[in-house]
């Protein structure tokens, strides 16, 4: 594509197939804990690969 560049991101639909193991960090978004939106979290399964 000449004028469009798609940045590689995780495929959400595919992630529903093997996802949901729950091993990832709890995401707390309150300001007092240094809020942890899911954006800056890592998938524990992918980290271990």
């Amino acid at each position: 594509m000449k004028r469009i560049k798609t940045i590689t991101t995780r495929d959400m639909a595919k992630s529903s197939i093997n996802g949901g193991c729950g091993e990832c960090q709890t995401s707390c978004q309150s300001a007092s804990k240094t809020s942890c939106s899911v954006a800056n979290q890592h998938c524990e399964q992918r980290k271990e690969k």
Binding site: R10, S16, T26, V38, R46
Partner: protein
């Protein structure tokens, strides 16, 4: 639904329902805006709009009137957009709403506790959400017995989950440091016995950091959050002792020593993770300077959060402040961009976004885990949905000896706390990068966990715009190097 914005000469498109990100040129940007206008009218799908010859011709003519480009380029862009639609990367349908409550149930095993080892503090910060550390007069120090029972409770209720999190929190946890250390040792015993992995975190104001704290923390804690507000004058204005003296001078050497030891090359540490974490208020709306002050002191991991407070206090942030706060986030992003390009980059927590290794869709729609995956434990062993509810008698859910004694309170969160129980989130472009915000902020500002704290949402959207710009820039820099 898409969101498009321009920042730092990048034209960025975010697809809300797939979390896909595209970087486009000016021509494609304007074509997308025109096509989106038609799609938003709602009577046709994106694929239908992009295949409609009349619309294609109109869009092409409008673009040719504004840009000197070959006509075939405009049609090529629209063909590319149709391909992206077919691949569910643009104007994609929301595939996950129907399954959201099931996804939430799938993640409802306890895996994290916030251990309030001390309801009391050796500082007297103006903005403390915890009532100057003692949570509205309910002061206390957690005994080793209560702490051990809390860890047992966590293991007992964690099902098959291996990774468990324990945050030593307060008040100031270091005033009960010996108990923290004993609890880490006890946790290591539990790990072997039950095949679990504990990740301990310490959040501290730094006053009591000494060699023992540094050595133990760096050996045993997976993350350490160091509370500091940036510039000396910012810090001392809000973070002072009970007699009113600023604490900057008494903590900075401690923080530097801890971080130097933690990040020393070759050192055998459980983790080198840490965060310098500050709060900004109406007194330092130019907070980008505070983050840069941290970075200039050599701290590579930084964070600063907007104060959440009663709107009547003098340091409260208000809606009218948003334009200035947006500008600060942009300034910070630009400075980080410049430093990154010079090879002098540092991390800002809210601009760290893992596009390829981030969480799965379950995590993204199921919210923060308050009251289900996560509980706060007080010094006497009472359980609350999270640390933000501690001290609110209506929100107590049980205790570590009897377990959940108020299932109806847990039910508020387990049955209706996901991305799709918040109407405002359903149509928000940032939803899969945010997961629905903080239930406690919603509750405290609007009396309902599902009525969003709009001020926080505005800042979250701006931060994600900045984060994605930096991610796109990094991506293009890497592509340029290959």
């Amino acid at each position: 639904m898409i969101h498009q914005y321009k920042f730092n000469n990048y034209n960025i498109i975010v697809d809300a329902n797939s979390a896909s990100v595209h970087s486009v040129d000016e021509v494609a940007y304007d074509i997308i805006a025109k096509v989106d206008e038609v799609i938003r009218r709602g009577d046709r799908t994106a694929a239908e709009v992009l295949n409609d010859e009349e619309i294609r011709r109109t869009v092409s003519e409008e673009i040719l009137a504004a840009y000197e480009v070959p006509a075939e380029d405009t049609y090529e862009v629209m063909d590319d957009l149709a391909d992206l639609v077919a691949d569910n990367l643009l104007w994609s349908e929301d595939l996950f709403e129907a399954a959201a409550s099931d996804l939430k149930i799938k993640q409802s095993v306890l895996k994290a506790i916030c251990l309030h080892v001390a309801h009391g503090c050796n500082m007297d910060c103006e903005y403390c959400f915890a009532g100057k550390g003692d949570y509205s007069g309910k002061s206390g120090i957690m005994s080793l017995e209560v702490g051990k029972r809390a860890l047992d409770y966590l293991v007992e209720n964690s099902g098959s989950r291996r990774h468990l999190e324990v945050d030593f929190f307060g008040g100031e946890p270091l005033i009960n440091w010996d108990v923290c250390k004993e609890l880490v040792r006890y946790g290591r015993e539990l790990e072997k016995k039950h095949n679990k992995i504990f990740n301990f975190t310490l959040t501290t104001n730094g006053v009591l950091i000494d060699d023992d704290v540094i050595d133990f923390t760096n050996r045993e804690m997976g993350n350490v959050v160091l509370s500091m507000d940036g510039r000396r004058e910012t810090h001392d204005r809000m973070r002072h002792t009970k007699s009113g003296d600023g604490t900057y001078d008494s903590i900075m050497d401690n923080f530097k020593a801890l971080v130097a030891s933690r990040t020393e090359p070759g050192a055998e540490r459980r983790s080198s993770e840490y965060y310098m974490r500050g709060t900004y208020t109406a007194y330092n709306k130019d907070f980008s300077r505070d983050v840069l002050a941290m970075a200039d002191m050599g701290f590579k991991e930084t964070s600063i959060e907007p104060v959440v407070s009663d709107p009547s206090v003098p340091y409260a942030l208000h809606k009218e402040d948003l334009p200035q706060l947006f500008e600060e986030y942009e300034k910070l992003a630009m400075e980080m961009y410049d430093r990154e390009m010079r090879g002098e980059g540092f991390n800002f927590y809210h601009y760290t976004v893992d596009l390829t290794g981030g969480p799965c869709i379950y995590k993204r729609v199921s919210g923060c885990g308050v009251a289900t995956e996560y509980l706060a434990v007080t010094p006497t062993g009472d359980l609350y949905p999270c640390h933000q509810f501690v001290g609110d008698d209506d929100m107590i859910v049980g205790n570590i000896y009897e377990g959940i004694t108020h299932p109806e309170t847990v039910g508020i969160f387990s049955g209706g706390n996901n991305l799709y129980t918040r109407n405002a989130c359903k149509d928000c472009w940032v939803k899969l990068y945010c997961a629905g915000g903080c239930a406690a902020n919603n509750y405290h500002s609007n009396g309902d966990i599902n009525k969003v704290y709009e001020f926080g949402c505005e800042l979250q959207r701006k931060r994600i715009e900045c984060a994605l710009m930096l991610a796109v820039a990094k991506n293009e820099k890497q592509a340029g190097c290959e």
